[in-house]
Symmetry: C2
Subunit: 412 residues, 2 copies
């Protein structure tokens, strides 16, 4: 066994989170057609073993037998805020600020329109109208599309700006700023505390998209005074395909949060069936329509894996895994064959490694054939996501080794 493989074994033996792996259905559990090394948890998290039984109970007993009574008896009605409170500690939020529901895109719309309205309601009569929305130019596309729609519908102009240039782009016309905590393509971690402070110094409101950071590293929403945040739950939170997203509205802003999607679930008295809208107090104001119970309760079961797991431990292992992966790639892959897009500095790295190579599409196909599952992002990026709860160091070494084999076969 090579020295690197031995090191992987030692690192796995010393890993305080190693036992968590047993809480997921991975291939040693006999999954059919499964993958040996799953490095795509930044796209779809693996299945926690608690989920199938819980879902079966929700379907057969709660829906099938109790039916409509489950809205109260099985806690369906309060699920969006209850599950929001489960997510809260993972992103550094105290209870009562997060509701779960709708897709990330829909939540981006609520948050960006809400941020513009907050900025305008806070505006002094003296200054110019705030009519600009600044967005991360390297954003996952849907955020940009939705921000464009929010701009159009609030009479704003959308300004796409590279994250490093955001501070210079801010001014007294800035209403809202939409930023990604971790870049979906490169895995770069942006400086949430500094950028939030810069937005606030300009008198504007910030919306953070946590899709690629929540569950992988500490976010510190409360600590850093973030105004609004959104995120999905199917990546590092393992909620299942298309599981509902969430919306964070800082407690002090909730009374002024003015949602563009004021559905009956956010009404102060939803069963009063009143023709006039009156918003509920608190985070509930971010709800819209009837919550999607099967997916939401699958997510609730999936969150059990976090019991007793500090995000700091996850972050430490994530950095150790990505460091080790880079070390293995350097050891196994000839120099120049791939280019690492992910920053080396820990403070700038999320929980994935993005490697650029000209034949990335072909390379990823061959990797997947050999059981190493990452994904490909057009036109030339290989993405490898490291989920510390179920990825180990031997997996990481193997992924780099198979990558080197594939790269050796495919001339580039």
């Amino acid at each position: 066994m090579s020295e690197t493989r031995l090191r992987a074994k030692e690192l796995d033996a010393a890993d305080g989170l190693a036992a968590k792996r047993a809480e997921f259905l991975l291939d040693e559990d006999g999954g059919e057609g499964g993958d040996a090394v799953y490095l795509d948890g930044n796209s779809l998290g693996a299945l926690p073993v608690a989920v199938p039984g819980r879902v079966e109970d929700v379907v057969r007993r709660q829906w099938g037998a109790l039916r409509i009574r489950s809205w109260t008896e099985s806690g369906w009605w309060t699920a969006p805020e209850r599950i929001g409170d489960r997510i809260a500690p993972l992103v550094g939020a105290t209870a009562g600020q997060i509701v779960v529901g709708d897709s990330t895109s829909v939540n981006v719309f609520k948050a960006v329109v809400g941020a513009v309205r907050l900025a305008r309601s806070a505006d002094s009569a003296a200054g110019p109208a705030r009519d600009e929305i600044v967005v991360d130019a390297t954003t996952f596309p849907t955020d940009g599309y939705i921000a464009e729609s929010a701009a159009r519908m609030t009479g704003c102009t959308l300004r796409p700006v590279p994250p490093s240039e955001v501070p210079d782009a801010l001014g007294d016309r800035t209403a809202a700023v939409l930023l990604n905590h971790v870049d979906y393509r490169t895995g770069r971690l942006h400086d949430l505390p500094a950028l939030t402070a810069a937005v606030h110094a300009a008198g504007a409101y910030v919306v953070w998209d946590l899709c690629h950071s929540a569950g992988a590293l500490p976010v510190g929403l409360d600590e850093h005074g973030v105004d609004l945040a959104v995120g999905c739950t199917y990546k590092y939170l393992n909620g299942g395909p298309g599981s509902p997203a969430y919306l964070y509205v800082r407690a002090e802003l909730q009374d002024r949060f003015d949602s563009p999607l004021p559905g009956w679930n956010s009404h102060a008295e939803p069963f009063g069936m009143r023709p006039e809208y009156a918003p509920a107090p608190g985070a509930l104001r971010g709800r819209v329509g009837t919550p999607d119970i099967l997916s939401m309760l699958a997510l609730e079961a999936a969150l059990d894996v976090w019991d007793g797991v500090p995000v700091e431990a996850v972050r430490a292992k994530s950095l150790a895994l990505t460091d080790f992966f880079l070390e293995c790639v350097e050891a196994y892959v000839p120099e120049g064959r791939v280019e690492c897009l992910t920053p080396r500095r820990h403070g700038e790295r999320g929980s994935q490694i993005a490697l650029r190579c000209p034949d990335a599409g072909d390379v990823m196909e061959r990797l997947i054939e050999r059981g190493v599952v990452g994904d490909f992002r057009h036109p030339d990026v290989l993405r490898f996501g490291f989920t510390p709860l179920y990825v180990g160091f031997a997996d990481t070494e193997r992924a780099a080794r198979v990558l080197a084999e594939v790269l050796a076969e495919t001339g580039a």
Copy 2:
């Protein structure tokens, strides 16, 4: 056995849809804590027996073993339009006009904003700007709240009007009209063909909310030239609690449909990850974010019960059930004790009976204790929904009989 009970037996024996009941998990199937007569399918449809096994496969095999590969291999990515095409014949639509996803409230927002934009893009330069949205004043509240937000965000005024007065309220300033096919409270069926024609005659666009009609009666979206429609899938379509809603955009309007929620799933090239939005052709344009797969595929399994069932047969049985219920109530309940809010005329009746009585909340509680499950709508309405696929005539007679017993006990 009373004559009425004998008649119920005969009607059940002659019921061509009676065999469908076996395709649902009802109490004879051993459901724990179940209800003897379930007349709340207009709130949450009963569980089709095909669903639990399908959901288990989706969770364990598609998510648990195939994971990310299921987006293509298990048909996840195309589920919104594939399942839309399954719903289409139930509402009189040809394929390619419906996508499933998001809540009804979110779809109302897409449809109403979309309708206003259609009206404006079609406007001749000569006339006044179209700046009014007309909404059914008796609407389910969320439609009104969302229409108000759509009005605010498109510079329109919202005009709530009783459905019977809608034709007189229309004019050359009307942009969009949002109407409920069946009133959620009274069960009144509105005249979709005539109202659609009136809206078109005014040069405006109509959005129909089909929550309380789809799966209970023929809708005829294509036949009557409806522009846009939305509906939920957890009532007469039995998709499960909070299962995703759907959006219909008439084929000829799709190229001009301009969604206020242009998420990456509606992009012409969603995996191109392009910073500029370019809408997909067709119904896909109504998609937003990542579809909620567990709930969506549960719905797909639930739709199997419609195989070979003509909506016309469902409608005939629905009217026979509600006629019979009214007959039983008249026979068993002293005159004046309850007032029927649902129209007697078939052409004006949906698939529920609403009875008003001053102590409705207390009465419904007692009914539920005795296994007859309807629901209560503030302040004084008892609602009984009749789902022809699993409610029979003996159920109906029993519900009326238990209602009479409860009403006799509770002095009013």
